[in-house]
């Protein structure tokens, strides 16, 4: 951590910062840059949280240097974490595909999809019981009934499943059915929810917040890991951009970057990033080429009757074609 003093900072103001840093055990070094005083207070990242440095008189700015979480950061664990969902391993090399409808709408809809994606080679089923919709007047999910349908589909197809949880009070319920819980993009900074999923044993998918920096996203993972659960899969799903040509801007750089900064697996959700089905295939292929441990794909047997996000869902035969192309690209980058 570097502390830049204001041009008009007094010697006493510099001394006050230095003293506090010293009291906290930092190794302090003072230098100047173009006549400005620069205080280098290092040794440990945690010092940043130990005092409101930018509130000290005479301080202009605090400049962080080292990044990355304490528990999920690569600096403290160099080998990759492999997350196990049912009997599927994510992060062990081969590309994994999670597929299914955005929301469970009916037993028929879910089973048609589940059987199809299983046949095409998907590894994990998706289908939500609780949906975070922008408008309160949109379909909000079938709740517990959806979880029962998903569990039944698991028995039939053998595919483990992931489901979103929106409310800390629902964590036990969703966790009692699903093989993996998802914290969605709107809840990435919902700390009550992060803590709750950190206290239960099922692995967790953590979607990146709509405008979260890589560092904030990693901090959200720290909230989960700090409660004892490090089985976390990071999911890049597009960030807010300035151009409404697409729903979100897929930040493809996040894939190699998060794998560099943390030891967690990283997956990509091209369906929610694009918001339109004709972009799902190129984005999915790009994700795998960039090193993603897997992709999430929305599939629906009848998208234009979908209650949620039909515009981005592939038809089963389109998903089957995607799987074929995905296998070729995965092989080209040395993943099976």
């Amino acid at each position: 951590m570097i502390i830049l003093m204001r041009p008009d900072a007094t010697g006493d103001e510099v001394a006050q910062v230095v003293e506090k840093l010293g009291a906290l055990g930092a190794d302090v070094h003072i230098s100047t840059e173009d006549g400005r005083t620069v205080v280098n207070g290092t040794t440990e990242v945690r010092l940043r949280d130990e005092a409101p440095w930018d509130a000290f008189p005479g301080v202009e700015r605090v400049v962080p240097v080292v990044r990355g979480g304490r528990r999920v950061g690569r600096q403290n664990k160099s080998d990759n974490t492999v997350v196990v969902v049912g009997d599927v391993k994510i992060g062990d090399g081969p590309v994994k595909v999670i597929a299914g409808p955005c929301a469970v709408e009916s037993r028929e809809q879910l089973f048609a999809t589940a059987v199809a994606v299983k046949t095409s080679g998907a590894h994990i089923l998706r289908g939500d019981a609780f949906k975070p919709r922008t408008s309160p007047y949109s379909f909000q999910g079938l709740g517990k009934a959806a979880l029962e349908i998903m569990a039944e589909a698991r028995s039939t197809t053998g595919l483990p499943f992931v489901a979103e949880v929106l409310d800390p009070r629902d964590v036990d319920l969703v966790g009692s059915y699903a093989d993996m819980l998802r914290v969605g993009t709107r809840n990435m900074s919902n700390h009550a929810l992060l803590r709750e999923v950190g206290r239960q044993p099922k692995p967790v998918q953590l979607k990146r917040g709509m405008a979260a920096t890589i560092e904030e996203w990693i901090d959200a993972a720290e909230y989960i890991a700090n409660e004892g659960n490090s089985d976390i899969v990071m999911v890049e799903r597009g960030v807010r951009g300035f151009d409404n040509s697409v729903r979100n801007t897929l930040d493809i750089s996040a894939v190699p970057l998060v794998k560099f900064l943390t030891h967690l697996p990283v997956m990509v959700d091209p369906s929610h990033a694009a918001g339109r089905k004709d972009l799902v295939l190129p984005l999915a292929l790009a994700a795998v080429a960039a090193g993603a441990d897997g992709v999430l794909v929305d599939v629906h047997p009848n998208p234009y009757e979908a209650l949620v996000d039909g515009g981005q869902a592939l038809l089963p035969h389109e998903f089957d074609a995607l799987m074929s192309e995905l296998r070729l690209v995965a092989a080209a980058v040395g993943r099976s």
Copy 2:
């Protein structure tokens, strides 16, 4: 709502969209623009939610036209809503100031601040019991003990108070003490929380999400209003920008725009927008000049010992000076 068909859309695909629109009661009109088919399906905004229009074969894009929520939108209630907090009215003309520390850290700290801001003319006290911190290793608030201190300060100063709520399970607890609840920026899309604050009687401050569009922010207010509580104050607190010179970019246009689109009061939080105290005064004055119904200002008797956001907190005498300047600008724009 306008639906633009793809250049290669077939007549059958156009017909399918038109038929569905008609079945939902829309007044449909078909035209062309540069040879592309444009379907105008209007009458009611709700049609947008009734089918996944962008999933229909042949559809390229859905273009929304009318905006604004059903319950909080100006179109359905032309007079301004006045929100009453304790005995303080927000939105009735005069500028209101909410001041206090970001978090309650101790009885001494809170009382020193409360007495000072009361003396300087603040109308409502702030001081949080639960803090949403980016890092799990930062101070998270004193919880119930903080609420008791705040209630005591209310007795002493006569100032009603507002406190943040992070967890739907804490809504009753916070509501039993505070005169107003706050939903913070990280939870603007936490629907479980929005619904819970919508089901209780205390007024609610709804901070804009870090990258929420005006429309998404209004939709979040709809979640609250839809549960029966329309006593909502919208708080602009800066949005995520591309320049880290300031913590957030205060979107000053949001003040007149949200007042145009909804009937709710709009306040501004210059402290959290700027993240640095030397910008608080100019941003607060700008907010009032732009028509805000009030401002929220962080005040701390000893910012560089603050546990949260000390860098943006004013000292009591700085706050006093801000109040003087604020009164002059408020008078200049015809507000007392």
Copy 3:
């Protein structure tokens, strides 16, 4: 084009808009949405430019519907444009690679790079004579001397070359040496320059502006095409994002989207997007997987002595490894 009237628009105000649209030859249709008047004035995209619609009394917003340029838009030419640079074709199927140093710094540096990238299989050489640097105190390029070195390298290696032009007064000079001109990201909206490169015969690389929407980027291509030169290659090079973890956010969706909206080839510059060399390989592979017609890669024999952007330049042997991986991914997606 759709025109939304304000809630308080009068009948006369609606009539004025309708009359003007009619006078311009539009097919006008009036409807209502939640009680608001919506004027649908279609037939031709050009109408948007023919009057300041949002200035008419009573108008709230103008909503564009159809997008895409008149000359470069897919709607007016369905087959792909193939751009020929020297004897290299871009956009005819196989992936093309442009490689070389960001700037020509010396004859030795350029020749070492040119011979190496030729050996590794690059198709076109890059190396700029004029550099647009953020700071006026940074190296600004060798000018004409650099162009002469590039021409000599072309003779030696047989590789055609591309060079940036910054000033409309330099277009003739650069064009007299280079096989392709580049308009850089900072000049995407420099219309004097766009017109000048549109009036000369060499093909043009048009980089996307740092915060340009897809539509503005296409409009910039229109400026060139409108002067008679349609040999344009669009280059996505990352857009401004909110997270400074990377220099720019590579907008990978732009690849399929611009190919859908225009008939022009699209290339990707992973080096400038990432700004750090460890991300160049994954981003280059992602670009090809997403359908890019080629990539631009910075290569430097001695990056840490580079005068410009050394941090993102690959060493020749790293570039050679990238070419091998690129060939595998290109083959996987059916491109040679």
Copy 4:
């Protein structure tokens, strides 16, 4: 400048960085943070440009510390620069208003506007001869004829005038008529143009680029100042945001921030920021309250016949009302 080494950086790699810093005259200090090596190479900002630090083997990131330009930065000149346009001083305390149509469309239009804004109290006239339009098919300005009309209006009203210049080849022409030149937002990084306006004697308005950071904007001013012309007025005109509710997001914080970092006057253009006339008044008042040295306001006698940006232009009587309110707010913040 701080250089963070990668976790796997070797001692030799650290030594190479230290050696180069030393050779350039830096005062080097090495420390560690969470086990990572941090190299502090200070003394002078210019070192950042002297070597491609992020290209050195083992370097992860370069962290700038001190900001601000050498010539326009506050660190090297503590008193405010006052820019004189004709006989009008900008930056000496009182708020100055520049008003007029976006483009000169005819003698009648310009004179009607010029006389009106003079009567209402404007200090400087605006009216462009060359317009940078997004589409090549939009009106591009009357060129020299417009400059002659502006000069005639100056004789009649006594108001000096400012006009935009788009092409370095037009600098002499525009400079021979206008009292002040403007570099527009699309050309903020057009270095050929910046240099040319820096080499002539008339003062320059420098609009912020659409997605320029404060630091890049200051660097653009350095380009002008570095050629010898320091009579620069910085103009905040809104930056690109993620919400298309308004055309641009007015970054009101930029006003106090640029005044803190540089010694140059700062003005605000609420018309181009908002893109809609009903927001011009609140944004203009906010700008003055935040400390702007003046505002630019689009005025047109007949906005809905305007050829450029009519939607944001005020009618003369609306401008007159704005001037009255502006005077009150200016007085409230101690400016006449």
